[in-house]
Symmetry: C2
Subunit: 112 residues, 2 copies
DNA sequence: GTCGCCACGCAACCAATGGTTGCGTGGCGA
DNA sequence: TCGCCACGCAACCATTGGTTGCGTGGCGAC
């Protein structure tokens, strides 16, 4: 019973810079490579590359506006990603719980 | 209000191979680089490198046994990692919820 | 109109990382 | 003691996250 995870989606949100970008986009509603890089410790070009990755997995969408390219978070897709986080977390949680129960059972049987 | 995340811990569980390794270790209780690589699509050496990473952030511990090096999951540290997953997930969830509420409010105000 | 600013895309380059193969060494069982 | 086998180390390769440098095309000011 292995945990089924969309590796592309996971690795997209696995990068700390991309996570912060999603944070910023969620906070402001939208943003461009330039505005994002203003609030990040990396250059505009680095941000642009990350935006390509996020766009490829559908976590963001672009709308060209004049000479700007405005990015917005796809809430449905982000919700899917969040669900995956929860899945992995709860699966491991379940395993840890079981281990804990077994450990307690052993402890009890040794005490008697 | 940015999400405080231990990037080292997160990136340790961010790699799909390392996640599957943790899965295997949890399922079997313990394992060596060789036994893990038997159940993974990568070589023993690749697994060994990942074990170094996992050990460095404290997610696993080693106990040398004869000519083997037996690895076990540190449940406390894994629980911490799971908690971080939950944190990020719930933070994004909250933002998504707020956006949804705002969207609904706008929709209502337009309908009246 | 045209001129200049500025957001963007493209390209070359660099370091770190996840992967490989090859080889040497040291326990343990026959 | 001899051979097997798990391990560590080293060299190497591809991908990726980052940089700098440069060309181009909208848009506002004059």
């Amino acid at each position: 019973m292995s945990i089924a995870v969309d590796d592309d989606l996971w690795s997209a949100i696995g990068d700390p810079t991309r996570r912060r970008m999603l944070d910023l986009l969620l906070a402001d509603g939208a943003g461009t490579a330039t505005t994002l890089s203003d609030n990040l410790p990396v250059t505009r070009q680095a941000v642009a590359k990350h935006l390509v990755v996020l766009d490829r997995v559908g976590l963001v969408h672009v709308t060209p506006e004049g000479r700007e390219r405005r990015y917005r978070v796809d809430e449905v897709q982000l919700a899917r990603a969040v669900a995956q986080l929860a899945d992995v977390g709860s699966a491991w949680d379940a395993r840890l719980q079981r281990i804990k129960r077994i450990a307690e059972a052993i402890e009890r049987s040794q005490k008697k």
